[in-house]
Symmetry: C2
């Protein structure tokens, strides 16, 4: 049985400010939670409607399991139709991603992406294509926003996401810097290196001018039809696919 | 000034049943509406907060413009933050897409896609890559759902979307039938024809077994990382990109 103040604490984690102060976020649904159990993330408590329903045999960590009523669970769920299980997870303090960590692979760099669904889908897609590091400008939507966590479909458990002063970070790195711009080289004619950074910009405004200046390889997804723009999660998918196809073709 | 019954009629168009009975749908925002004005779609009325604000010089059709109060507009808007302009548009009766119409290009075929955002993004992405025909199973989400219209970002105005008995349609066509499946040939090693159909399935269940049987070229986006699945709008983007790159590489 949860107390009023426990529910109020859990509910507060829907807000970024509370997540930052408290150092926790929530993940909902058994599939997503299973991924977090076998990951570097540290689970504090799992709240579920019937504790007997869940058995974790391959779990790599200890955590509390607490039985709650569906009505209580609905109070701190962020879903319209709450699932029967929600985990309280510690926000990890990732070490700052250095060039050394990012070598020999590609990483996605996001400049001001605002939509939680987009960030979640970007992480899920990156995970499909074997990209595990995402570097975000400080004004990118918070990755522990419940809608982001949900949209990653568990892929967040395998991904390192960090927030940095993007201009400073890019000035320091020696990795090849690619960026999705409208006036670059066709992505189909670009010879991607075996490592590098791919910068994608904000939904409405694209990449900020000061960040654009730091792009050494502007790359464009050619327009074959008439749409005015591509969704940023879609552009990310086309980049991830093109980088990956080079590995096997 | 709108009457109560006018507002109630406009509001009802958020529901599929009312759209079907009335034969109309709504599009919101100046960008999207501008695309519909210069399209085969027939606009009945444009409702806007300040009529003086909008001047269409290149319009190819006549329509009524009616000034409404922001409060009235909010009553039939489907957006949390309503834009200042909403168009009432006739649902077109597209002729059934015959093989003849679909020749010399690719079309996207959707088997039970349920999420409005996914369908909208699929249409927007297809439009970027020059694909203008979308064929949907009868249980695919309605394309005139306000969330779908919104997510297409105006691309719907350039796209023909029809709903058919998919099995019957596929049995009749002579076009090459490709399908996104988990056990197919790698998309990076597939030689796409210059025309054909690409089948994508439902978010949770993929392509139905009876439709799978009709696929002549099963194609897979190889997994490089660990995600369990790709979002259907993302899979669509990878297919659109691969088909297009063949045209220029």
């Amino acid at each position: 049985m949860l107390s009023k103040s426990q529910i109020s604490f859990l509910k507060s984690l829907q807000q970024k400010k509370a997540r930052k102060t408290q150092g926790f976020f929530l993940a909902e649904g058994i599939k997503s939670i299973s991924e977090f159990i076998n990951s570097p993330y540290q689970i504090e408590t799992i709240y579920c409607v019937r504790t007997s329903q869940y058995k974790w045999t391959d779990q790599s960590q200890e955590f509390n399991i607490e039985e709650v009523t569906p009505a209580d669970l609905a109070k701190f769920s962020s879903l319209t139709t709450p699932q029967e299980i929600i985990a309280l997870i510690k926000i990890p303090q990732w070490p700052v991603l250095e060039t050394k960590t990012l070598q020999y692979s590609f990483s996605i760099v996001l400049d001001g992406v605002q939509d939680p669904g987009n960030l979640g889908t970007i992480i899920r897609t990156a995970d499909w294509f074997g990209i595990s590091n995402i570097i975000c400008s400080e004004d990118t939507v918070d990755v522990y926003n419940p809608k982001v966590v949900q949209a990653t479909m568990g892929s967040l458990a395998r991904t390192t996401v960090c927030y940095v002063d993007l201009a400073a970070f890019l000035k320091k790195t020696e990795l090849p810097i690619y960026g999705a711009l409208l006036n670059g080289q066709s992505i189909y004619q670009t010879n991607f290196d075996t490592e590098g950074l791919i910068i994608l910009g904000n939904e409405g405004n694209g990449i900020r001018p000061e960040i654009q200046k730091l792009i050494r390889h502007p790359v464009t997804i050619p327009l074959f039809g008439k749409a005015e723009s591509l969704n940023v999660a879609i552009a990310n998918a086309v980049f991830c696919s093109e980088i990956s196809r080079n590995k096997i073709v």
